[in-house]
Symmetry: C2
């Protein structure tokens, strides 16, 4: 059995750049896809007209194989889906919502559908809904996260044993070693977010990119569990959340504190103190801003150097 993710997504390496709010526009997606991985445009932070522009530019760059990440709670999701059809996007990664709603529709349109999950339970639901693969994303991942707090180490084998469709591991992966480890746990591909935030092509603000490369262990926390759990960097805004908890504030108060536009303010506009800086624990292991293609090449070189591709089967690509 050869690596099914490479076959399913028509990619050279089973290495997928995560669709991320404010960080992954067409430039990043195109660069990763050109380098042999799969680039994803993160549509969750885009108005339909912005997504339209990104899809046009991605197509214009000559890249044929790429994906769009579609958060299923997105308010104008029908518009987004219209654009995905219009630009004949070949692959859609869905997340944060019920996979039943759109999977059949997208598949009927000839689109490959991959759903992001944080538990075995949701993986089985995604498979039942017809998803072609699942991303199993652990507690260490940046941004929105599951309530069970299951880590990549525990989640990936659990999901891989439960479903027949191939599994892509996410959370804590940033180099060839962690790619090898993810495949050892039963995944057939990896989805990498944080490492691609710190690339030249990422649309993150340069201050946020730099902050990511300076992160140390323990610098991220999973918080706001009463709303949607989110992993972010410790800063002035996070300290305000800590104070709100100390003062026993309600979920409504927390929602008000979060307000609107915090993520944009932090990650896109570079307000490192009062913005929301979503990033994974693995930021502590990212020290350099590099071109996205160099990241792909380095990870694959490290993976090959470890000899993992000699293990055959899903390890071999």
């Amino acid at each position: 059995m050869k690596n099914r993710i490479c076959k399913l997504l028509h990619i050279r390496y089973p290495l997928i750049q995560a669709g991320m709010v404010w960080c992954s526009g067409w430039r990043l997606a195109a660069a990763v896809s050109k380098a042999g991985g799969l680039g994803i445009i993160g549509s969750g932070s885009m108005y339909p007209e912005v997504l339209d522009e990104h899809l046009q530019k991605c197509r214009g760059s000559g890249v044929r194989n790429f994906a769009v990440n579609l958060p299923l709670m997105y308010p104008q999701i029908e518009d987004h889906i219209g654009l995905i059809l219009k630009h004949r996007v070949p692959i859609v990664f869905t997340s944060a919502g019920n996979p039943k709603t759109y999977t059949s529709f997208l598949k009927d349109a000839g689109i490959k559908v991959v759903h992001v999950v944080s538990s075995k339970k949701f993986a089985l639901k995604a498979e039942a809904a017809g998803a072609d693969a699942v991303v199993a994303e652990g507690f260490e991942a940046g941004g929105h996260n599951g309530r069970e707090e299951t880590t990549t180490f525990c989640l990936v084998p659990e999901v891989a044993d439960a479903v027949q469709i191939p599994v892509i591991a996410a959370g804590g992966i940033a180099d060839g070693r962690s790619m090898h480890a993810a495949l050892a746990l039963g995944a057939e591909g990896v989805q990498i977010g944080s490492r691609f935030v710190a690339t030249e092509e990422s649309s993150a603000h340069s201050s946020f990119k730099k902050r990511v490369t300076q992160a140390n262990e323990g610098d991220t926390q999973l918080t706001l569990k009463e709303l949607t759990p989110v992993r972010l960097l410790n800063n002035g805004f996070y300290q305000d959340i800590v104070k709100a908890y100390e003062n026993h504030r309600s979920a409504d108060d927390l929602r008000q504190l979060l307000g609107r536009g915090r993520a944009k303010r932090g990650m896109f506009e570079g307000d490192l103190e009062q913005g929301e800086l979503e990033i994974g624990q693995v930021a502590a292991r990212i020290h350099q801003i590099m071109p996205a293609a160099a990241v792909v090449e380095q990870i694959i070189a490290e993976y090959r150097e470890a000899g993992a591709h000699h293990l055959g089967g899903r390890f071999s690509f």
Copy 2:
């Protein structure tokens, strides 16, 4: 470079059974050591006279190579150290305290010292104190846990890059796949706790063993972070903690709720409702109570089946 943990600890397989309160007495340690791994007697839940008896019986079983886990905050630690010297215990795993205090003393007595850490910072301190190796234990591990919440996936490469001494991975490891993944991340050995709770030789109460094999994903939580963070199973006692948090109780109130003897009550006496049931996230992947030797054999067979030993270097033993 061959596997340094096998060489350091004189073991056939770099597979270590964690020293655990109430679960790992001489029977379990002897069984694991006889099977080619390293068995550890968990002294944290033993009075000195109990430890004396366990060491005598372990020696009496004909096992020459085994270790004692020594929590550095143990109130009668000097008595425990006296017994370790008396019975010429060859290896000590220290945890939960400053490695500076006893490492040199133990090493001067010809004892190998391995220190358990949850961060790179503490790994560097252990190395500076003269430890022969460190256990890097991730957020998913059962029982007492670090404050940074760094998972095995992020912690192991971070520690392996920081120190020169070999690293043993812990947290989320229960089979040959996860052992392979841990070594891929840079570890040279694995420490396994939860899986050995569910063995015939474990001193855990039979009801607790059975409960472990029935655990599902999301059934454990890391809680009591104001005291010492601990991962345990959701039960009546855990629900009392949840209520205490909802009522904004103080750390002192939580300490009073915890009281004394909860862990013994749960894990040793089998009170599944009001006892403290310390176990790792990976309990969701443990389905059977087996003899400890069969666990060791199965894990090594799975590891070999994956072909990981062909990778050479630390992968080869």
